[in-house]
């Protein structure tokens, strides 16, 4: 195992020198979750037992390979390598059947085992080529240290590029306040929220959360904003008959959130601010809403909260979050 891991890591260090530690644990994750059949080469060049050493030699030369399994009736009866061929040549057995020179102790790996297993076997044996068989012992492919390393590098590169992409986007977004100069720069996000649309409920909050993460706002503040905006968004979905709008105004040092609707409004503001008070109907409660805790939650996580409403005149909720002192 070790030998194999070392090999993988060594190549990684030279090829993708800037890769972070998390990518190394990613190697471990990959070798324990990837099946051999996803890595193996399936176009296996095989040697027929009737071939002579000389014939095998020219086959290997022509195909640029340094070894091949010897197969009879779909079963592997041996494996022959360049070293075996050279030894046979030295002893003048060039025209004898290859079966005399092949090694018959063939290690194989089953197609649905994990790649770590390959490392185990190859590492112990010190060889670099392992035939892959199915449950019945039939040859289905071949793995070499080369195929495994190539596969791992490709997969790592993919996840590396994905992370890099996200990092780059976050970097670009977070520098907006430096890159664009004004006396007071702000980024404004607007979202329309439909009433009773439960399949889209929460999408605005989700997008706001992601935007703040890209702007590299302190994670604790991101969480507080997410909770408040989500409660506000659900109130628009649940308690209005017309939906409403959420506006997030992000500045360098503070963040304003407004949730505005032209719905039924609220008659008794004091009452709805009481934790536990809710007018949500039964079917809303069945969905897990209507605890009467939404506004209390918003109040708790925000630095300032203002609720303005009039029966028949809609509702406006204004929140302020301080981005400086966290």
């Amino acid at each position: 195992m070790r030998g194999f891991l070392d090999l993988g890591l060594l190549k990684l260090e030279t090829t993708l020198g800037k890769m972070a530690v998390q990518e190394i644990t990613k190697v471990q994750e990959l070798i324990y979750t990837t099946r051999v059949e996803d890595v193996m080469a399936t176009d296996v060049i095989v040697v027929d037992p009737s071939m002579t050493v000389a014939e095998v030699k020219s086959l290997m030369k022509e195909k640029h390979i340094s070894g091949a399994p010897v197969v009879q009736d779909e079963n592997i009866i041996g494996i022959v390598t360049m070293t075996d061929i050279l030894a046979a040549m030295e002893e003048g057995r060039l025209h004898e059947p290859v079966t005399m020179s092949m090694s018959t102790k063939v290690k194989t790996v089953v197609r649905d085992s994990v790649v770590a297993e390959v490392g185990n076997i190859l590492g112990l044996k010190g060889s670099s080529r392992l035939p892959v068989v199915d449950r019945n012992g039939k040859l289905v492919g071949i793995v070499t240290t080369g195929t495994v390393t190539k596969y791992l590098l490709r997969r790592l590169d993919q996840s590396f590029q994905k992370n890099e992409q996200e990092r780059l986007q976050a970097y670009r977004a977070s520098h907006i306040f430096q890159d664009i100069v004004s006396d007071d720069t702000s980024v404004v996000l607007r979202f329309v929220v439909d009433d009773k649309d439960f399949s889209n409920a929460g999408k605005a909050s989700s997008m706001i959360k992601k935007a703040l993460q890209r702007l590299v706002v302190n994670p604790q503040i991101v969480r507080r904003v997410a909770v408040a905006v989500y409660e506000a968004e659900m109130n628009l979905v649940i308690h209005t008959d017309v939906g409403g709008e959420i506006i997030v105004d992000i500045r360098k040092d503070k963040l304003n959130v407004s949730a505005v609707d032209h719905g039924p409004g609220i008659a008794d503001l004091k009452q709805v601010l009481q934790p536990g008070f809710s007018t949500a109907p039964e079917w809303i409660r069945d969905m897990g809403f209507g605890a009467g805790m939404g506004l209390a939650n918003i109040k708790r996580v925000s630095d300032m909260m203002k609720l303005i409403s009039e029966p028949g005149g809609g509702t406006r909720l204004d929140l302020v979050f301080d981005l400086k002192n966290s």
Binding site: S206, K209, V227, Y230, A296
Partner: protein
Amino acid sequence: MKLKELIEVLDAEIILDNHGSDEEIPAGGAADLMSDVLAFGSPGMALLTGLTNPQVVRTAEMAGINAIILVRDKKAPPETVELARELGITLIRTSYTMYEACGRLYHAGLPGLGVVKIRNDTW
């Protein structure tokens, strides 16, 4: 508690595996009311719930919750699984009731969140 231990304690089945089994779960909580989750949810915790609608996943996203455990042998509708997949949240189901699932986890050493207070006198 590691995720794999939690699964063992609950005899649970993984519906959607978005975290390694060695993921450390710092705490647990149970609720069927989304505002409760938002009030007491802490980052990385496991949420036990009897609800299976997609809003549970949304709520978990907002509260920074990594794993949702559906109790009482509930099945997750496809929309819920889909959203959890999109958001990278692990979904687990167990046949134990809420009471017993919580009890088993707490007994096995998964802490709760202690005493929580909702301020109601600050308006």
